[in-house]
C-alpha cells in the first residue's frame, strides 16, 4: 500500500544547470563472485543490486543493465583493474546530471513523465530508467528532497528548460 498526497505538488523545486559527469561504464563478462570481488576492490563499493545505487568514494555506482553498472572515477585506472572480469568504457561525455532539490521534486517528475516518482518506495539508493519530456533519463533520488536526473547531453538543454518551466 502506498500513501500519497491528494493535491498537485506545488512545493518549490530548484533545478540545477546540466553538469558534466565522470561516469565510467563497466560491463561484466559474467555476474559472478569473481567480478563482485574485483569490482568491490577496485571501486570501493559493492556491485549495486537491480534498480539500486551504491555509494563509492569516487561517487555513485549506478545499476544500469543486467550486466552493466555506471561507476565514477578514472576510466583508464578502472579498465586496468577490471580487465579480467569486465569491459570498461569512458562515457563521461555521454551523460549530464541535473539536480532537482526541494520537496516538490516527485511531482515535477510526473509532468510529462511515465514513471511513478510519487511512489515513496522510490527513494534514496534507487535508480529508474525512464522517459521524461521525451528524453531518456535515469532518475536517482539522492535525499528525501533531492533527485539527480542523468540525461544525454543532446537532450539536456531541452530537458532543463522543460523541468524549469
Amino acid at each position: 500500500m502506498i500513501r500519497r498526497e491528494t493535491a498537485i505538488v506545488t512545493d518549490p523545486v530548484t533545478v540545477s544547470d546540466p553538469q558534466p559527469t565522470r561516469l565510467v561504464r563497466v560491463e561484466a563478462f559474467a555476474l559472478d563472485a569473481a567480478f563482485a570481488a574485483v569490482f568491490g576492490a577496485a571501486v570501493g563499493a559493492p556491485v549495486p543490486a537491480v534498480g539500486k545505487v551504491t555509494d563509492a568514494p569516487a561517487g555513485p555506482v549506478i545499476w544500469a543493465e543486467p550486466k552493466v553498472v555506471l561507476a565514477s572515477g578514472d576510466a583508464a585506472a578502472l579498465a586496468r583493474a577490471l580487465a579480467e572480469v569486465a569491459a570498461v568504457s569512458d562515457v563521461a561525455g555521454a551523460w549530464r546530471r541535473i539536480d532537482l532539490k526541494g520537496p516538490g521534486w516527485r511531482g515535477r517528475l510526473m509532468i510529462d513523465g511515465l514513471f511513478d516518482a510519487e511512489d515513496p518506495a522510490f527513494g534514496t539508493g534507487c535508480v529508474a530508467a525512464t522517459m521524461l519530456h521525451h528524453a531518456p533519463v535515469m532518475l536517482c533520488p539522492t535525499a528525501d528532497d533531492a533527485v539527480a536526473v542523468y540525461v544525454a547531453p543532446s537532450f539536456a538543454g531541452d530537458l532543463h528548460a522543460a523541468l524549469s518551466r
Binding site: E5, A86, S89, L114
Partner: protein, 982 residues
C-alpha cells in the same frame, strides 16, 4: 409564457455572489455554482443555438455532458473555444460566449432556409452528388465545403499552457456520484491508494439534484462528509476531470479543466491537464443518460429531458418554465413531477404511455396527490414555433388531446454509460425488458457499478459499489474493512423499451433522433431502404451519432429503429463502437507541452551553439538539428552549398559529424562480436587501422553502414549513420545480450560521449598537422591519438567526401575548444565550414551509399555493389538469409549512377522510358558537379548493373520536372581513390 426563471430558494449555488457574463452580446448575471446553461435558463433564454444541417433553433435538452444541442463558443481571441456545451461550462465572472451556426444572428439566420429545401437534402445527399455529372461536383464541392464544420476555430494563437502528467493508483474510481463515492470510501478505508475523478466541479453526481437521504442525512451533507473523509485518507480527488479514454493495462486518460473554457489561467498559465492514470483496478461509476421520446418536432426549444428539468430545479434553483407537461414511458418522470409540484410550479399533466395497471400504485398515488396523471397516452407532436414549444399533442384513449406548456419534459428510459467499459474491451448484454445494454465480460478487470451497470436503484448502487471498492482494494493488496455500505431510500424503477417506437400516425421525417446533426427517423428509414443495413453503415450514411456528443442521447433510439426495420432483435443488429474521447477535447490538450519550439524534442550536438551563431538553415535529422549551410550575404542555400563543396574540393572544410552512431566494443571477444554484427571481416584489422563496414539485418538486407577501427588489441570503435544510430544500438544490444551472451565483451554506446568533427580537403592534412600537437597525420584508414587545445583527441583518417579527410573525436563536453582550433586552422588554409548540403553534393559525386537513401531497408549487399566486401568466412548476422533465391533475381533494384543529359535531375523522381511507361526505378539522390559542368545522381534501377549506358527519363510529374539521364557507374569523382593519399 416567459420561459425559465430563478426560484427564490433552493439549489447548491452561492446566491450571495453575482457573476456577470455575456451571451451573443447581451449582459447577463448568474451565481457561483451555475453553469452557463442554468444561468441563461434562469434569465429566460430558451434558444441557445442552431442545428447543423437545417439550422433549426435549439434549446436545452439535458443538463450534463450528454447535451447535444446547446453548443456555444466561449472566450475571446486565442482562448476562444467553439462547440462547448453550455451545460458543461461552469459560470465565471467575465465569461464571453456566443451561439453558433447562425448568420447573421441567432434570431435571423440565413441558413434556416435549409429547412425549406429539406426534401432535397435527405440523409446522404452529398454522397449522391457523386452520381451526377462530374463537372457538377465542382459546384457542389464549394457549397458542401462551405457548409461543413460546426463552430469557428480561434484565429489567434492560444496563449495558454497544456500540461501532461502521469499518475498511478491502486484503485481508480471514475465518477463521484453515489456509487463512485461509495466505492471510493470502501477502497480507501481498506487501505488502497485511491484516485477519484469526476467531470463536475463538485462531487455528488446525480445526488446534487436529488433531495434523497443517505445514512439518515440529506444527500448534500452525506456528500460533504464523504469528501472530507476521502481527503483525510489521502485519496487523490480530481474534479472537472473527465475520463476520456480507457486503454490497455488499465491506462485511463483523464482530461482536467484547470480553468473553464475561455477563462484566463492562473499564474502557472495552465488551461487544461491531461492525466495518464495507470491503475491497479478501475471502478466505473459514470451513471446513466436519459433518453428522449420520439414524436414530431421533438427538437423544439422547451422539450427537455425530465431528469434535466429536475436537475435545474434542485441543483440550480431554476424553473425551466412556467407550465410543465411530462411525457414518459417510465417511473423516473414522476419524481420530476413531484419535485416541480412541491416547488410550487404548475404541472398540467404527467402523460404516461403505460396502462395504469403497469405503474406502481404508490407512485401513481403520490403523483396524483399533486397533479393530473393520464395513462395510456402517447405524444404525437410538439406544438410551437422556432422560439419554443407551446404545447404537446397526444393520443389518448378518448382521442387527440392538446396540452398547453412551455416545457415538455420527456423520459424515454435510462441508458447506462458503458463507453469506458467498451473502450476497455468489455462486452455488453442486452436487457430486452428495459431496452438497455449493460456491461459484462470485463477484459481488464474493470467493474461497472451503479447506473452505468444498469442498477438504477440508489440503494443497489450504493451497496454494489461498496462491494466493488472492497474487492478492488483487496486485489491491489489492501485489507477490506467490515463496515456496512451506505443506505438510502428506494424509488420504483420500471422503465420500458416501448419508448423507442413513436405512436402510430407520427411522421418519422419530423421525429428527430440526433438533434445536433438533424437526423430523423425518416433519415434512418431512408438509409435502410437504400441498403445501409449495418449499424456502422447507417451511422456513416446518416451521420447519426457522429456529432460532437457522439450520440449519447440518440444511438440507442437509432439502433432500435434499425432493429425494427430489420425485424431483428437489437443485439443482432449490433452497436457502433465507442471510441475515445468520451467528450470532445481540444487539440491543445493532446499536444500538451509539445507545441511551438517544443513541438518535438531538440537534440543539440555539443557544437550547436557555435552553429546557431551563424543562424543557418537547419536540417531536421530525427530530433537532431544540423546546419544545412553557412550562408554568406547574398547567397542562396544552393549557391552556399556549392561554394562550400568547392572549398572542400580545392582547400579544406570542417563540419560537425557528432551525430554519427558510435560504439566502443571491448574485451577479449570484441572482434568476435563485431564479426557477427558486421558483414565485413574485422578480426584481421591491425591495431591503429580501420575499414569501411556495413551490417545486415537478420533477414539479410543491409541495415546500416559505417567504419570500424581497432583502437587496441581488444578494443574497437564502430561508427554508423546518424539515422541508423538508435537502430544499431538496438542491434548490438540484441547481439550482445540475446544471441551471444557468453562472449567476454562489452559494447558501450558512445555516440554522445564523443563529439566528432570532419576535416576534409586537399589541405586537411595541413590542418591536422598544425592543430594536433605531436602528431603526424595518420594515413588513410589509420588512426592516432593527440591533443588539440589541451583536449585529448582521437584522429581517424577516413573520407566521405572523396578528399583526403580526417575525423577528430573529442569528449563532448570539451569539443568546443577543438572545433574552434580546427576552424581557425582551416581558415588559415583558405578553408572554412561546410554543412549538410555540401556534404550531400560531395558524397553523391563520390558515389557513397547513404542510410535512408540507397540503404532503404529493401536493398541487399549485392544490390548496393558491396558483395565483394562480405566476410568470406561468414558467421555474421543475415548471412544465411541473404542466400535466399529472391536475392539473386537479376531484376532487383540495383545501385547505379546517373549522368544528366540536360539539366538538374529531380531527386526522388521515377525512372521511365517515357512518361506513362512502367517505372523501372527511382532517383535516390542527385546533385550538381562540384568542379565540372553538369549534374549527376544516384539511383536504384531494375537490373541496373547490367544496364550501364542505357538512357532513361528521370520523371517527377508531381513537380513537373524531368531530365534525360544515362545509366553509369556510381563513382563520378576520383574513381581510383588517388585523392585519399598524400
Amino acid at each position: 409564457m416567459s420561459g425559465g426563471h430563478r426560484l427564490s430558494t433552493g439549489g447548491v449555488i452561492d446566491r450571495s455572489q453575482t457573476l456577470r457574463f455575456r451571451f451573443d452580446g447581451r449582459d447577463y448575471a448568474g451565481h457561483p455554482g451555475d453553469t452557463l446553461a442554468s444561468a441563461l435558463l434562469a434569465s429566460g433564454v430558451r434558444v441557445f443555438g442552431r442545428s447543423f444541417k437545417y439550422h433549426r433553433t435549439r434549446g436545452l435538452l439535458a443538463a450534463g455532458v450528454e447535451e447535444p444541442s446547446a453548443l456555444v463558443g466561449a472566450g475571446e481571441g486565442g482562448r476562444f473555444e467553439p462547440n462547448t456545451r453550455a451545460t458543461d461550462l461552469h459560470l465565471y465572472d467575465g465569461l464571453v460566449s456566443e451561439s453558433q451556426n447562425r448568420w447573421p444572428s441567432l434570431d435571423l439566420d440565413v441558413g434556416a432556409v435549409n429547412q425549406w429545401i429539406a426534401p432535397f437534402i435527405p440523409a446522404g445527399f452529398y454522397y449522391k452528388t457523386f452520381l451526377g455529372p462530374p463537372a457538377l461536383w465542382k459546384l457542389y464541392e464549394h457549397v458542401i465545403r462551405a457548409a461543413a464544420g460546426l463552430g469557428r476555430p480561434p484565429q489567434l494563437p492560444d496563449p495558454d499552457r497544456y500540461e501532461r502528467r502521469a499518475a498511478f493508483c491502486d484503485v481508480l474510481v471514475v465518477g463521484a456520484g453515489p456509487a463512485g463515492l461509495s466505492a471510493a470510501l470502501a477502497a480507501a478505508r481498506s487501505g488502497a491508494r485511491v484516485a477519484l475523478v469526476d467531470l463536475d466541479r463538485r462531487l455528488g453526481g446525480s445526488l446534487l439534484g436529488d433531495p434523497v437521504t443517505i445514512d439518515g442525512q440529506p444527500a448534500k451533507d452525506w456528500i460533504d462528509a464523504a469528501e472530507a473523509e476521502l481527503r483525510t485518507r489521502d485519496v487523490r480527488i480530481l474534479t472537472r476531470t473527465t475520463a476520456i479514454g480507457y486503454y490497455d493495462h488499465n491506462m485511463v486518460y483523464l482530461a482536467q479543466r484547470v480553468v473553464e473554457p475561455g477563462a484566463r489561467t492562473g499564474t502557472d498559465g495552465i488551461s487544461q491537464r491531461m492525466w495518464r492514470m495507470r491503475a491497479g483496478r478501475v471502478i466505473l461509476a459514470q451513471g446513466a443518460i436519459e433518453r428522449p421520446l420520439p414524436f414530431e418536432d421533438n427538437d423544439r426549444p422547451g422539450v427537455m429531458l425530465s431528469g434535466a428539468v429536475r436537475t435545474y430545479l434542485d441543483r440550480f434553483g431554476v424553473a425551466a418554465g412556467e407550465r410543465f407537461v411530462l411525457a414518459t414511458s417510465g417511473d423516473d418522470a414522476y419524481r420530476t413531477a413531484v419535485r416541480l409540484c412541491d416547488a410550487g410550479l404548475r404541472v398540467d399533466a404527467v402523460l404516461d404511455s403505460r396502462p395504469s395497471e403497469a405503474i406502481d400504485p404508490a407512485l401513481l398515488r403520490r403523483a396524483r396527490d399533486r397533479c393530473p396523471v393520464e395513462t395510456g397516452v402517447r405524444p404525437l407532436r410538439a406544438i410551437g414555433t422556432p422560439r419554443g414549444v407551446t404545447g404537446l399533442e397526444v393520443r389518448a384513449a378518448s382521442g387527440t388531446v392538446k396540452y398547453v406548456a412551455d416545457v415538455v419534459a420527456v423520459s424515454g428510459g435510462l441508458t447506462p454509460s458503458v463507453h469506458l467499459h467498451m473502450q476497455a474491451g468489455g462486452g455488453l448484454d442486452w436487457d430486452e425488458g428495459r431496452g438497455v445494454f449493460t456491461p459484462t465480460a470485463p477484459r481488464q478487470g474493470q467493474v461497472s457499478v451503479g447506473a452505468c451497470a444498469g442498477r438504477f436503484q440508489l440503494a443497489d448502487a450504493l451497496s454494489d459499489a461498496w462491494r466493488a471498492g472492497l474487492d478492488a482494494a483487496a486485489a491491489t493488496g489492501g485489507k477490506p474493512v467490515a463496515d456496512t455500505p451506505p443506505r438510502s431510500e428506494t424509488w420504483a424503477f420500471a422503465d420500458q423499451a416501448s419508448a423507442f417506437v413513436p405512436a402510430p400516425g407520427v411522421n418519422p421525417k419530423k421525429v428527430f433522433v440526433d438533434p445536433q446533426n438533424d437526423v430523423t427517423l425518416g433519415d434512418l428509414d431512408l438509409a435502410w431502404r437504400e441498403g445501409y443495413r449495418s449499424v456502422e453503415h447507417q451511422k456513416r450514411y446518416t451521420t447519426l451519432g457522429m456529432a460532437t456528443d457522439q450520440g449519447k442521447t440518440s444511438n440507442l433510439i437509432g439502433l432500435a429503429r434499425l432493429a425494427e426495420n430489420e425485424g431483428r432483435p437489437a443485439p443482432q443488429v449490433g452497436l457502433t463502437t465507442f471510441r475515445p474521447p468520451f467528450i470532445p477535447t481540444t487539440l491543445g490538450l493532446w499536444a500538451g507541452e509539445d507545441a511551438g519550439f517544443h513541438v518535438t524534442p531538440l537534440r543539440r550536438t555539443p557544437l550547436y551553439d557555435l552553429h546557431a551563431a551563424f543562424d543557418p538553415p537547419w536540417q531536421a535529422v530525427g530530433y537532431w538539428r544540423r546546419p544545412r549551410a553557412y550562408l554568406r550575404a547574398g547567397e542562396t542555400l544552393a549557391t552556399a552549398a556549392l561554394r562550400e563543396a568547392r572549398m572542400v574540393r580545392t582547400t579544406v572544410g570542417i563540419t560537425d559529424v557528432s551525430t554519427l552512431g558510435k560504439f566502443e566494443v571491448s574485451g577479449p571477444d570484441a572482434a568476435a562480436l563485431l564479426e557477427r554484427v558486421c558483414a565485413t571481416s574485422v578480426s584481421k584489422l591491425a591495431v591503429g587501422r580501420g575499414r569501411y563496414t556495413f551490417m545486415l539485418r537478420e533477414d539479410g538486407l543491409v541495415n546500416d553502414d559505417g567504419t570500424v577501427w581497432r583502437l587496441g588489441e581488444d578494443r574497437f570503435l564502430l561508427t554508423s549513420s546518424t539515422g541508423g544510430a538508435d537502430r544499431m544500438a538496438g542491434l548490438i544490444s540484441y547481439a550482445r545480450n540475446v544471441l551471444y551472451p557468453d562472449l567476454r565483451v562489452g559494447a558501450a554506446n558512445v555516440q554522445e560521449h564523443y563529439a566528432a568533427i570532419a576535416v576534409a580537403g586537399p589541405r586537411a592534412r595541413a590542418v591536422i598537422a598544425a592543430v594536433v600537437e605531436g602528431m603526424v597525420p595518420p594515413r588513410h584508414m589509420s588512426l592516432d591519438r593527440g591533443v588539440v587545445a589541451g583536449v585529448p583527441v582521437l584522429v581517424i583518417a577516413a573520407s566521405y567526401s572523396g578528399e583526403r579527410a580526417f575525423e577528430v573525436y573529442a569528449p563532448s563536453h570539451q569539443a568546443v575548444a577543438v572545433w574552434t582550433a580546427l576552424a581557425e586552422a582551416a581558415e588559415a588554409q583558405e578553408g572554412g565550414l561546410y554543412g549538410l548540403e555540401a556534404l550531400e553534393i560531395l558524397r553523391v559525386e563520390k558515389g557513397h551509399v547513404e542510410t535512408g537513401g540507397e540503404i532503404d531497408g529493401r536493398t541487399s549487399a549485392h544490390d548496393l555493389r558491396l558483395e565483394k566486401m562480405l566476410n568470406p568466412r561468414g558467421g555474421y548476422m543475415g548471412q544465411l538469409a541473404q542466400q535466399r533465391p529472391a536475392f539473386a533475381d537479376p531484376d532487383r533494384l540495383q545501385f547505379v549512377g546517373l549522368e544528366s543529359l540536360g539539366g538538374p535531375i529531380p531527386e526522388g523522381s521515377m525512372l521511365v522510358e517515357r512518361p506513362g511507361f512502367a517505372v523501372q526505378g527511382h532517383v535516390t539522390a542527385a546533385g550538381i558537379r562540384v568542379l565540372e559542368e553538369g549534374f549527376v545522381g544516384l539511383a536504384l534501377l531494375k537490373g541496373g548493373r547490367a544496364r550501364l549506358g542505357d538512357e532513361l527519363l528521370a520523371w517527377s510529374p508531381t513537380r513537373t520536372a524531368s531530365a534525360r539521364v544515362r545509366v553509369s557507374e556510381p563513382v563520378f569523382h576520383d574513381p581510383a581513390g588517388d585523392r585519399y593519399r598524400d
